[in-house]
Amino acid sequence: MLFFGLVVLAGFGLCALFPQAIAPYGAKAMHAAWLGPCAEHWLGTNDLGYDIFSELIYATRSTLLIGVVSAVVSLFIGTAVGLAAGYLPAWKGELLNGLIQIFLLIPMLPMAIVIAAFVGTQTLQIVLIIALLGWCATARTVRVRTMQLKQTPFVECLLILGISKTQIMLRHILPNLKELVLSRYMMTVARCIMLEATLSFLGMGDPTAVTWGRMIYLAYRRGGFTRGAYHWLISPGLCIALLIIAFYCISQYFAQKQSQVSGSQSYLD
């Protein structure tokens, strides 16, 4: 599982880093439009005559970038809030927990749509919107784990030793969250990519950045469906699916490692 995930991820990583070396044609090289899959164009060409296979490879970078960056931001927020909510005593922790619960209830997609409608759909905005809406699941998991750790004898020892709370939180509890956080991170990237694709499909993606979600949107809006240009419609979808499965596999590995350390934790919590 881990191996499969890593191989796929490495493959996409290479595509994102060196698209020029891998793609058979340039991103904007124009050929005859609406070609089906053939020897020269493995996945055919789109409405402008771009080679779809090459476009997929070039789009890897922006797709991954949006997923990875927004996941980093949301992970950061999520871990910080979760840690604080789990560790801080009494009402402070409760308050933060309440905040997490509130954010968990907010319907993500309509919220993202409303914000994007108001602030615009450039890449930066999209990244921020996804990040600001996606942190709460991480926060919840981190909080639960932190509370477990707080009860463990080693934390009590540290307390008796007179080490400050901040230090305990950052130096001693945080490292113990490593596997959990990594596992969460992988799932968050997958989820961010999915949300970006959905927003793009609704016409709320960055029109200048070609992502896989936007490719599906264009294929759909430019008649790929009616023309039966399924290669244009499905191949970005397959890439998304493959990437998400890869992230899932890797996160499963970390989750298992984590549960070996601490007992049980399913990825869904």
Binding site: I113, V114, F118, G203, M204, I216, I240, I244
Partner: protein
């Protein structure tokens, strides 16, 4: 329960404050943002009219008070693009959305439960691996793509199901055929939603059941000679039903959002197609109304599942009595 209510209340309050603040705090013309109009189509008279109608020239506190008062009376604002009150537009569309969302919630919960228990009993077997892999794969496919593929396959290539809408152009007059017609039309959209929402619940059930299989009470039951399936349905199920129902409640939001995305694909005139229009015309009041309504649906669904949990779970019931 009290805490839950408090959180639900604050969640809705947050959305309200958010909806109120967003057009007023962002740079740009507040009035135009409030009405969702383009500058060029608004004449000076109309602009003055909008200022008066939205009350944008009054102090913020006063605006907020009247905004809250309006919301409490069911006034979600006015869509100037549709020339109709938002609540009226949404009320027209919600039934269609619920018609695909509710069956999807129920069916996906049922399917996840059955599949999850079945696979959870056999954790580690080839069958379980196959089902889990399949679920994870389906989960990784974007919902809208799934919808498009199902539509293309079952409606256009095989012709088994209609290509969209909620009923035929001429609805059969008799009640029973009319119902059949509606269900026939609901098949594809509901299937899309079910496929997309089963995996998360399935994995939860499967993992929990597998975990419970290791518990001592299962061991005792086994040593009493009870069959595995009897144990799952009679002993494990009551134990996992609480987190499962909570999960279904949380999932409601997911399914509701999912239905918004696929409605345009299936030409269903529900909230989703309304939202789609609102996105294209940047009809801000309508967008915000949709957000609020989705939030209410999610919050209510969560509260309902909590009540259900309490009703089903003897432990929780008893504790309440103790507390009283």
């Amino acid at each position: 329960m009290k805490k839950k209510l408090l959180i639900s209340f604050f969640c809705l309050l947050f959305i309200l404050v958010f909806n109120f603040a967003l057009p007023r705090l962002l740079p740009g013309d507040t009035v135009l943002m409030l009405v969702g109009m383009d500058e060029d189509v608004v004449s000076e008279n109309e602009y003055a009219y909008y200022v008066e109608k939205t009350g944008a020239d009054r102090p913020l506190a006063e605006q907020f008070a009247s905004y809250l008062r309006g919301i409490l009376q069911g006034d979600l604002g006015y869509s100037y693009h549709h020339n109709a009150p938002v609540e009226q537009l949404i009320a027209q569309r919600v039934p269609a959305t619920l018609q695909i969302a509710l069956p999807a919630v129920l069916l996906s919960a049922l399917l996840a439960l059955v599949l999850g228990c079945y696979a959870g009993m056999r954790k580690g077997s080839g069958m379980e691996r196959m089902i889990s892999t399949l679920q994870i794969t389906v989960d990784a496919i974007p919902g809208f793509l799934l919808g498009l593929l199902l539509l293309s396959l079952f409606a256009f290539h095989l012709g088994w199901f209609p290509s969209g809408a909620l009923n035929s152009i001429v609805v059969p007059a008799a009640t029973l055929p009319a119902w059949g017609d509606r269900i026939w039309h609901l098949c594809l959209p509901v299937l899309t939603l079910v496929l997309g929402s089963v995996p998360a619940k399935y994995l939860l059930v499967c993992n929990t059941v597998a975990q419970q299989m290791q518990e001592k009470y299962v061991l005792y039951a086994r040593s009493r000679g009870l069959s595995d399936s009897y144990i799952v349905w009679h002993h494990i199920l009551p134990n996992i039903c609480q987190p499962f129902i909570a999960m279904v409640g949380m999932n409601m939001g997911f399914i509701f959002s999912g239905s918004l995305v696929i409605e345009t694909i299936f030409s269903i005139r529900g909230l989703g197609s309304l939202l789609d229009q609102a996105i294209r015309s940047r009809d801000y009041p309508l967008l915000q109304g949709c957000l609020l309504v989705s939030a209410v649906v999610v919050v209510v669904a969560n509260l309902l599942t909590d009540v259900l949990c309490v009703a089903l779970d003897p432990k929780v019931r008893c504790r309440i009595h103790e507390a009283e």
